[in-house]
């Protein structure tokens, strides 16, 4: 706990909070440095990312990666408070809490200078915001069964996520999430089998895979999977498909599956790699689809019997247009949970294609949509 925050001690209610001394994480907890989750703001509006999508910062990929690298430990993310002259909208705190919780982690709340000062002075707005923050944290601590489900993924990203591969592989994780491509990070150094349900694997490293890893990935392809790889994979024996859905890859058929290898010079652009992975895999394997979500993050968890889709609105305010969500699977009930509503809402199911479509109420920050077969 920062010393200057102690003045706000009277306002701190233990419910839902775990006080943390700087640099002293509780047992079983790994604290990583992260970003202020949310839409990046620039003078005159939001900053655009590639293809004009708004630029979103999220700690979700880091929590998933560290959880995978450190089994048995809970991952918390700490974000440095903003500079004294930087104004942070209060909703960014709620987004930070929701972003981490949606990925099975927690966000270490360290109020900015203005928040600390106004809270210590018992400012009514600060107090109200503090209560909202408490309610959000309590929402997640009381619903571990909602946030503790494993990620529902169709794509695995294989890398050592370190050294020369660190930036590219980690950015693919980040941008796969941004494109609503359900993914899992897979550490290549101890990968002996692939999780069930994967349709595609991206091999992201500059070095050729070891013989056992190559063999594992080839078995996946021969059984019908898609492997998208870097040039490090080397020559592929299978015939090349005449038409490819992306200009940057040649597609070889191997067994029942496909291997996509870069054609010509590698772009080295993780955004393009994530976009190509989505196209090569095909939206046919979507687990969920979102309409009018804008900068909303969508993180499916669970399985075909009980699926929880976490929605984080990085904008911090409701979207201009109403949001619809489709979840693949045959579900009997769909329920919306959010700290923005006093109680869970049963949603009307519209059966479309092989899934359930629901129309969502306004979501400023977060909702979990739970579908049960």
């Amino acid at each position: 706990m920062p010393p200057e925050w102690r003045g706000a001690g009277a306002a701190i209610d233990a419910t839902g909070f775990t006080p943390v001394e700087s640099g002293k994480p509780p047992a079983g907890v790994l604290i990583a440095e992260g970003e202020w989750a949310g839409m990046k703001r620039m003078t005159g509006g939001s900053e655009a990312g590639p293809t004009g999508m708004p630029w979103v910062d999220s700690n979700g990929w880091k929590i998933r990666l560290l959880s995978m690298q450190n089994p048995g430990q809970q991952v918390w993310v700490h974000t440095k408070p903003p500079a004294a002259n930087e104004v942070i909208r209060f909703e960014r705190y709620l987004v930070g809490v929701a972003d981490a919780a949606s990925h099975g982690g927690r966000w270490v709340i360290e109020p900015d200078a203005n928040f600390r000062r106004t809270l210590a002075a018992a400012d009514p707005t600060a107090k109200k915001n503090w209560d909202r923050l408490k309610a959000a944290v309590r929402f997640f601590t009381e619903r571990t069964q909602l946030c503790g489900l494993p990620a529902r993924a169709v794509t695995g990203i294989v890398s050592d996520f370190s050294g020369a591969n660190e930036v590219f592989s980690q950015e693919i994780l980040n941008l796969a999430a941004r494109q609503h491509l359900p993914y899992l990070p897979l550490l290549k150094t101890n990968l002996t089998s692939l999780p069930a349900g994967l349709k595609a694997v991206v091999y992201a490293d500059e070095q050729a895979p070891t013989a056992p890893l190559r063999s594992l990935l080839l078995r996946f392809v021969e059984a019908g999977g898609l492997l998208m790889t870097t040039a490090a994979w080397g020559k592929v024996a299978g015939p090349v498909l005449p038409d490819t859905p992306t200009v940057r890859y040649a597609i070889h058929t191997v067994g029942k599956g496909r291997i996509a290898v870069p054609e010509g010079e590698e772009s080295g652009d993780p955004y393009l790699a994530a976009a190509d992975a989505q196209v090569l895999l095909s939206h046919r394997h979507d687990i969920a689809r979102l309409w009018n979500g804008g900068p909303m993050g969508m993180f499916p968890t669970g399985d075909a019997r009980r699926s929880v889709v976490h929605l984080v609105n990085y904008m911090g305010r409701p979207t201009a247009d109403p949001v619809s969500l489709w979840i693949q699977g045959d579900f009997r009930t769909v329920t919306l949970h959010s700290f923005e509503y006093s109680e869970a809402k049963k949603l009307t199911i519209i059966r479309r294609r092989n899934g359930a479509e629901v129309h969502l109420p306004a979501i400023a920050i977060y909702a979990a949509v739970e579908a049960v077969a």
Partner: protein, 394 residues
């Protein structure tokens, strides 16, 4: 006589543009038949295919038109597939409905079409159309399996080899003397515009002709188009068509030197007229079983409405077909700039008429099927209501 010149865009081909003229292909022309057929259809279910078939029969039958031919069908998939008007599926508001596409494909296959290609230049992507429509929650296989030899073609680029075909605008056109388009528009015996009936905030209305605005590749005409040659993949929309703020890639025909129009309401209708004159439409089909009023997509609000006119319209001449559609919308196809729905734009039909594409004169159009007065759906009244909404664009 209209000409099209097959060519692959390279630096060398630009230098030898004059020489390219000798590769003149066969002549193209919009049919001058003034017959336009109108039907009412309650929904996109079982009544749809017979209703469409009835329209085609009134035009002389599909067999005569497509047997043994390669048919290219331009559909309307404007805007992102993840952007809806409210909660309404895109096909019930601003996308051509997949059931109408499927039924049309099926009937053309049954009539003996040799090959059917469904084309569109979707927003800012060179990805397969199948991927685009999956995001809208469509099942592309339902369309692909509706007849033999059916495929989707993304015409927003020239493929990895950047191949384009050149189409020249008769009489030089209003703004563009020609266009470089995806070769699918050349490798085509019958070109069909399968459009949605909608208002349009820039052009007043969007029907069979305006649908063809989207045949232009954004590698040449888009925000991220290459300056000298087409970019490999497309990015952005066709801002240059609206604003005239830049020229297409230099490898393509440039705007006429005297073209000084910088206002979308003047430019877009002229460019649409140029496009349909350069790449004539042989069959126009406009659907409005369900559609939207007030604009062409959810981004054109406020004041938009989901409506169910329950209409299907088909004709051989696009100007005549659009004119009948306008009358069905309770608009006057003879209206000039300033009158609804052309309050702030010029009349595309009039501009196409000036290029010899067809006639909008009701006295020269033979309407068959359901009478216009009986089938009319009052878009005009909804437009007047929209005008009263603060911030509404018309």
């Amino acid at each position: 006589m209209l000409e099209k010149i097959p060519m692959s865009i390279t630096r060398r081909s630009v230098l030898s543009a004059a020489g390219a003229a000798m590769f003149t292909g066969r002549a193209l022309a919009a049919p001058q038949s003034t017959r336009v057929a109108v039907a009412q259809c309650p929904d996109y279910g079982a009544a749809l295919t017979p209703a469409l078939n009835g329209l085609f029969d009134q035009l002389g039958g599909l067999g005569r038109m497509v047997k043994g031919k390669t048919v290219v069908i331009k559909v309307n998939l404007t805007g992102s597939p993840t952007y809806r008007l409210g909660h309404s599926p895109l096909e019930t508001t601003h996308y051509t409905h997949p059931s109408v596409i499927g039924a049309t494909v099926h009937l053309m296959g049954r009539a003996g079409a040799k090959r059917i290609r469904i084309v569109e230049s979707p927003w800012s992507t060179a990805s397969p159309i199948e991927e685009y429509v999956l995001q809208a929650n469509w099942e592309p296989n339902e369309i692909l399996r509706a007849a033999p030899s059916v495929e989707f073609v993304n015409t927003n680029w020239g493929g990895p080899k950047r191949k384009y075909s050149r189409f020249t605008t008769p009489n030089g056109g209003h703004i563009f003397p020609g266009f470089d388009l995806h070769p699918a528009y050349e490798e085509c015996d019958v070109f069909v515009s399968l459009a949605k009936m909608k208002d349009h905030v820039t052009a007043g209305i969007t029907l069979a002709m305006k649908n063809c605005f989207g045949i232009t590749p954004c590698t040449i005409y888009g925000t991220g188009a290459g300056v000298d040659e087409p970019s490999l993949t497309p990015t952005g929309g066709r801002g240059m068509f609206h604003a005239g703020d830049r020229q297409p890639s230099k490898s393509a025909p440039q705007e006429k030197a005297h073209s000084v129009q910088k206002h979308g309401g003047a430019r877009v209708p002229r460019i649409v007229a140029d496009i349909v004159a350069a790449r004539p439409i042989h069959l126009s089909i406009v659907e409005a079983v369900d559609t939207m009023a007030g604009g062409e997509g959810p981004w054109t609000g406020p004041g938009l409405k989901v409506v169910s006119p329950r209409l299907l319209v088909a004709g051989l001449n696009p100007v005549a077909t659009d004119a009948v559609c306008m009358r069905l919308m309770n608009y006057d196809p003879m209206a000039r700039r300033g009158a609804p729905p052309f309050e702030s734009c010029d009349n595309t039909l009039e501009l196409a008429e000036q290029l010899g594409v067809g006639s909008r004169d009701a006295n020269l159009i033979d309407v068959s099927g359901v009478a216009i007065e009986k089938a009319k759906f009052d878009f005009a009244a909804l437009r007047e209501m929209k005008k009263k909404i603060p911030g509404a664009r018309v």
